[in-house]
Structures are given as structure tokens and as C-alpha cells.
């Protein structure tokens, strides 16, 4: 999609196809496990994963082209190591760190007034990879509202809501930092899919030790989750309304049904809750609960987010809610 020069590959190594790239440079994967001269690259790749696992961002020198094999190969070998290790927790941490690393370069390139090539490349990456059509003006950057929304819905922070953005004439106005931040999730997913789709044998000679160490490292990030059986306040409220025989809105019924189904209750267990509703009809209740549960062969509906619940005036948050973003997370604690 993009013609890449030396510096560009260092900055955006995920744009290359790992296997093909190594082959083009005259290497086979096996060589990296057996050739002692290439061991440094594997060490470097291992280090790159450890840095990412630690929540930090790998730093590289982009201007020194003699570093090219080391910089690019370390990324590509890291991809291979991660695929061999098969631990999602490490893949997720690596993808996020690499996405943030690329973000840094994208932002710099977007603001590069001296070198038009850098700016054009950054704009092209944003357009081709993430369908983001960016306009640059004296005020900063602007993107069409519909493009903005497709990316911003991944964020839960209120400042990303379009109501909290400068909007005019069908466009959303952003700084270069915000523009690039908008695609972090997609960058992250793009790198994750690169790792997951890379084709490697079950194990490569000479990689066993690295893989073993990475599996040990992954254990560090395993978390145990304990979950209380108490209902969140929004669900308690919905049940109270029904118990009193008062009318619970359609959205309230949807919330209650999807929440309880999500917690593993069956349609038959949930249906009696609605018996006191002023318009109770057993047949309709069962039909609607079965519909929510996806039993009619259609979509299985998920419990709405706290934001959605709030917008429907069904949120009665307490301190115990602890900034959860979905009622199903209530009472869940990591050990």
C-alpha cells in the first residue's frame, strides 16, 4: 500500500509482511535460531517484548540507517517469538506498546512542515489503514464527523464524545496528538492481527529458551478475579420497581433482562420477575426474553453500558460502582 523507505520501515515495521521481508533480505527464520551472529537480534526482540510487557515503549534511532536490520528484525522476530509463545497477555501488551510507539512517529510526521514526504506518508497510513480522511489547515486537523465517530466510539472518556469536540460544517477539529490517538485501538488491533496471522512452525530450534522465559513472564500478568453476587444499584432499582407493581420502562426491562441473562440465569428463572408489571403477559414476556437471549436464532443482546443506562435515567450509581463501564462488571475485583 505504501512505498516504504529505510526510515519508514523502522518507524512503522508493522506495515511489512514478516516472512516475506526476511526472505527478501536473504534470511530464513531458522537462521535466527542457529546463527550466533544473529543471536543479538533475537536478544533484542526478546528485550523489546519485555519492555512492552513492562508497559514501556521501545525506543529506537530512526536516523541511523545502519541500524535497519536490528530495528526492523527485532520487531519481526518479536512477532515470531510472541506467536511461538502463544500468550495473549504478552501479545496484547506488545501490540499496545508498539501502537503507542508508532503513534509517536505518526504525530511527528503529521506535524513535519519541512519534509512533505513524511507528512504525506502519515496521512496515507491514516487514510489507507484506518479510513481516516484528514484535512490539514492553519487551525490544525479536521476530519469528517462520520469518520471521527467510527473511531471515537472505542473511547469511554467523556472528552472524546462529539459533544465535547469543536464541530462545524460536518467536521471535527483535532490537534495532531488527538488525531493520532484516535487510531491507537485500531493500530493495536492491526499489530495483534499481524502477530496472530503470522505463519510459524510449532517451535524453532534455538528459540526454546526465549519462549520458555516469555511463558514465565506471562504468568506474572495472570490475574484472578473475584466477583460478588450482589446486584448493581441499577438492577436493584429495576427489580424494586417491578416488585412494587409499577411500570418499568422498555429500556429498564431490556437492562434487567440482558443483565440477568449475561449472569447466566435462564429465561424461565427471569420471567417471574415481571409478574407484577401492570401490563404483564406471560407469553409476551417469554417471547421477549427468548429474543434477548438469542434463542430465536438472532442476535444475543448484551447488557447496555453504564453510559447508555445513565442516558436512560436508569443509573443509580453508588460508590461501590467504582467507575465500572458496564453493570455486569459490578462487584468484580482483581486480586
Amino acid at each position: 500500500m505504501v512505498n516504504l523507505g529505510v526510515d519508514e520501515i523502522i518507524k512503522y515495521p508493522f506495515l511489512t509482511e514478516a516472512g516475506q521481508y526476511l526472505q527478501d533480505k536473504g534470511f530464513t527464520l531458522e537462521q535466527f535460531g542457529t546463527d550466533s551472529d544473529l543471536k543479538k537480534i533475537v536478544d533484542n526482540a526478546f528485550e523489546r517484548i519485555c519492555i512492552a510487557a513492562d508497559g514501556k515503549i521501545y525506543k529506537s534511532e530512526t536516523s541511523n540507517s545502519t541500524n535497519l536490520p536490528m530495528e526492523v528484525f527485532s520487531f519481526l522476530i518479536a512477532v515470531i517469538l510472541l506467536k511461538l509463545t502463544g500468550r495473549n497477555t504478552l501479545i496484547r501488551r506488545f501490540s499496545l506498546a508498539e501502537a503507542r510507539r508508532a503513534e509517536h512517529f505518526l504525530e511527528k510526521d503529521l506535524m513535519d512542515h519541512k519534509d512533505q514526504t513524511n507528512e504525506q506518508l502519515a496521512l496515507k497510513i491514516m487514510r489507507d489503514l484506518f479510513s481516516l480522511n484528514i484535512n490539514k489547515s492553519t487551525d490544525g486537523f479536521s476530519i469528517p464527523i462520520s469518520d471521527y465517530l467510527k473511531h471515537s466510539i472505542n473511547f469511554h472518556e467523556r472528552e472524546w464524545k462529539i459533544i465535547n469536540r469543536k464541530v462545524s460544517d460536518g467536521k471535527v477539529f483535532l490537534t495532531s496528538h488527538e488525531t493520532v490517538r484516535l487510531v491507537r485501538k485500531e493500530l493495536d488491533l492491526h499489530i495483534t492481527s499481524k502477530i496472530n496471522s503470522s505463519s510459524v512452525p510449532p517451535m524453532l530450534e534455538g528459540f526454546e529458551d526465549y519462549v520458555g522465559k516469555l511463558k514465565l513472564l506471562a504468568r506474572k500478568f495472570e490475574v484472578k478475579i473475584i466477583e460478588s453476587t450482589e446486584y448493581p444499584p441499577c438492577i436493584k432499582h429495576a427489580i424494586e420497581v417491578l416488585e412494587k407493581g409499577e411500570n418499568l420502562s422498555h429500556s429498564g426491562r431490556f437492562l434487567l433482562g440482558t443483565y440477568l441473562l449475561g449472569k447466566g440465569q435462564t429465561v424461565e428463572q427471569i420471567a417471574p420477575l415481571f409478574k407484577n408489571a401492570p401490563d404483564y403477559n406471560e407469553k409476551v414476556t417469554l417471547y421477549q426474553l427468548n429474543h434477548l437471549a438469542g434463542n430465536s436464532g438472532l442476535t444475543k443482546y448484551a447488557c447496555p453500558s453504564c453510559e447508555k443506562v445513565k442516558s436512560q435515567d436508569l443509573c443509580f450509581a453508588t460508590e461501590e460502582c467504582d467507575n465500572i463501564i458496564n453493570p455486569t462488571q459490578f462487584g468484580r475485583k482483581r486480586l
Partner: protein, 373 residues
């Protein structure tokens, strides 16, 4: 509803459609739309495909629906079950209804009907006859409500054109056929947005979720210069007008806002949201699989027609959308409040036999305040 009344309404609807085929058409890309209809005292029939006006007119004559709907979405296979339809895109649609404005005047033109004993009485929380809480609210004509809804339509239209850059010719305004307006937007860059993205648009339109920082009020060390100017585009400008009232009061207002503190400003914004946010029904806009009342069809909640509005200012739904004739009909009416249709006043009625024009008879039967004897 009793069989005799249904027969009367169906005969009237059939005759109306037969005489007004010119009013009711399939929309653009009709072969990609899902149609649906309801008959009186019956459930919804969906997943129907109609290609031409002829198909539509045939459906009207054969089925005489009480209500007729068409999807705002386009599908590859509109007549298959939902999971197999293959959604392509959907027009942006908006619904603004008088009931969502919660105006005080509403109490003056609403009465209640008990679901248990059918007693009709002035607005209360329970039935005065049997004390049941199972009541339905009946809202009758009100010019003040329509005026207020029109104002919301104007506000929405301004946002669609100025903020969202939608061509004004692509925004069509319809009277809903009861007590609100529908806005349809076709061929916009928002066609392929999913439900979550549309929810963001509705929050924007309703001014929901705005934070003080957006208006320049930082939690710590707020600066006067970050506050919006009077003539800024978008919500910053609109909120500025609400906050400062006049340009000259800007500096003084900002000083006051800052001295009242961040939390007070947050509360203030909630009030402003109620005052100037557009009161659309967000559920309609976010639903990308909805079948929406078809323009030109009769709304069985009132017997009025969903009709295109060319001049919002001059439009009077109780005249322009009341399209039945004035043949005299005798019925029994029970309604504690009066209403106006085609500039004629009707009621109140105290469970009495009365003779009214057909358009009023249909309105009263649809509203549940009269029946044929």
C-alpha cells in the same frame, strides 16, 4: 376496539387511500426497503418487500392497514428474517414528539381512560371509578404543543445543516400524524453509521454529556480567554448566547461563572441542556433496523396523515393533515375536554350521542373517546 368501529375506520381508510394514491408512494430504493403494517386489533406484519407504487397501492386495498411502515434502512434481502437481510445503510431519521417536551399546557388537553373499566375522566393518576392504576393517557389537539415542537424542529434543522453539513434539500420534514414531527435525511455521509455512532449524534443534538472543559472551564486555574465567544459555531456559540445573553455581558458573566465554581457550572450546564438541547426521541435515531411510519399514510392513533411539510411556519396539522371528508356521522362520545379540528371546536362530551363530520368521528374513535352506536 369493537368490530363495528373497526369496519367504519377500515371503510374510511380504504376510501381515503383509493382517492389519494397521489399522496402515498414507495420511497427511493424501494426494492431494498422492508415494509410492514398493522391492522386494527392485530399484531405487526413485517419483512414485506414492495418495489413499486402499484405494489403499495395493492397492499393498501387488499389489507387496509391501520398503520403502514417502511424501513429507513436498505438491505440486500429486505423480505428475509432480520439476521439474513444483509444491512447496507440507513437514512438518518428523527422523531420529535410533544409528549417528550413535558409542557405544563399538556395537562389541559389530556384525559385518562381506564384499561380495566374503560371510564374516561380528567387527568388523574388512577381511575376515579374503579381506582385502577392501569390507565392510558389520551392527548387531544393543542396548538401550543405543536408550536413548541416546531421550535425543536427548527433547532434540529439548524444543527443538521450548520454543524453536520447536511444539504438542506436532503432534510425532509413530515408531520408524524399525531403530535410530533419526523425528519428524514437521505443521501448523507451518515448513511453507513451504526447504532453506537448514531447514539453519539443524538447526544450531540440533545446536548447530553457536555463537560465544563468543552466550554473552557478547566477544573484548576480556569482562564477567561478559553470561554466561548458569542458567535462561535456549534454548541460553544449556542451555549455562550444562553450564558451571556448579550455580547456586552460576556466578561461579567464569565467572571461570575468562574467565581461560582466548577461544580456549580456543571449543574448550570444540566439546566442549559434542558433549555436548549433538542428534544428528539433518541431511540428512534439509534435504531438502524426500525420500520418507520410511511409518508402519506394515516396514523391510527389520530386518523391524521403523516404528511410532508413545505412551510413549517404556516403548517397547521389540525387542518393540513386532517384529510377526511365532512359527511355527518352519529356516535356516542365521552370526553371531558374540547378539541379543535379543521378550525371547528368539538366537545366536551358527557357520554352522549352526537353528530359530527367524518374527520372528527375518525379522530375521536382513533383516540378512544367515541364509538359508533
Amino acid at each position: 376496539m369493537q368490530e363495528k368501529n373497526i369496519e367504519f375506520l377500515e371503510d374510511s381508510f380504504k376510501q381515503f387511500y383509493f382517492e389519494h394514491f397521489d399522496l402515498i408512494h414507495v420511497p427511493e430504493n424501494s426494492n431494498q426497503r422492508e415494509f410492514g403494517f398493522q391492522k386494527f386489533n392485530s399484531g405487526m406484519k413485517r419483512h414485506i418487500s414492495l418495489k413499486t407504487d402499484k405494489d403499495l397501492h395493492l397492499l393498501l386495498m387488499q389489507n387496509i392497514p391501520s398503520d403502514l411502515y417502511c424501513s429507513n434502512a436498505c438491505y440486500s434481502f429486505p423480505n428475509l428474517p432480520m439476521s439474513e437481510k444483509d444491512w447496507q445503510n440507513a437514512d438518518l431519521i428523527f422523531d420529535i414528539d410533544a409528549k417528550d417536551l413535558h409542557l405544563d399546557v399538556r395537562n389541559e388537553h389530556c384525559c385518562i381512560k381506564c384499561s380495566d373499566c374503560s371510564e374516561i375522566s380528567p387527568l388523574k393518576t388512577s381511575c376515579p371509578k374503579c381506582e385502577s392504576h392501569k390507565i392510558s393517557i389520551i392527548s387531544l389537539t393543542c396548538k401550543s404543543c405543536i408550536k413548541a415542537v416546531k421550535e425543536e424542529v427548527r433547532k434540529l434543522n439548524e444543527i443538521l445543516i450548520n454543524d453536520f453539513s447536511i444539504d438542506k434539500n436532503d432534510v425532509k420534514i413530515f408531520f408524524s400524524g399525531n403530535e410530533g414531527f419526523h425528519l428524514h435525511v437521505k443521501s448523507s455521509s451518515y448513511q453507513d453509521l451504526g447504532s453506537k455512532e448514531r447514539a453519539e449524534l443524538t447526544d450531540y443534538i440533545m446536548l447530553r454529556g457536555i463537560i465544563p472543559e468543552t466550554l473552557g472551564f478547566k477544573k484548576f486555574n480556569p482562564e477567561k480567554s478559553s470561554f466561548p465567544n458569542f458567535d462561535e459555531p456549534g454548541w460553544r456559540g449556542r451555549v455562550a448566547k444562553q450564558l451571556y445573553v448579550t455580547k456586552s455581558k460576556k466578561s461579567e458573566s464569565i467572571k461570575q461563572i468562574i467565581s461560582s465554581g466548577y461544580t456549580n457550572f456543571q449543574k448550570n450546564l444540566e439546566e442549559i441542556k434542558e433549555q436548549i438541547g433538542v428534544k428528539i426521541d433518541p431511540n428512534v435515531t439509534v435504531d438502524i433496523h426500525r420500520i418507520f411510519r410511511l409518508a402519506g399514510s394515516i396514523n391510527s392513533k389520530s386518523g391524521l396523515t403523516k404528511i410532508l411539510v413545505d412551510d413549517l411556519e404556516k403548517f397547521d396539522p389540525y387542518v393540513d393533515a386532517c384529510l377526511f371528508n365532512d359527511e355527518k356521522i352519529t356516535l356516542r362520545a365521552n370526553c371531558p375536554i374540547s378539541f379543535t379540528l379543521k378550525n371547528k371546536n368539538f366537545g366536551p362530551y358527557s357520554n352522549e350521542i352526537t353528530t359530527v363530520p367524518r374527520f372528527a368521528a375518525i379522530y375521536m374513535i382513533c383516540k378512544g373517546i367515541a364509538f359508533l352506536t
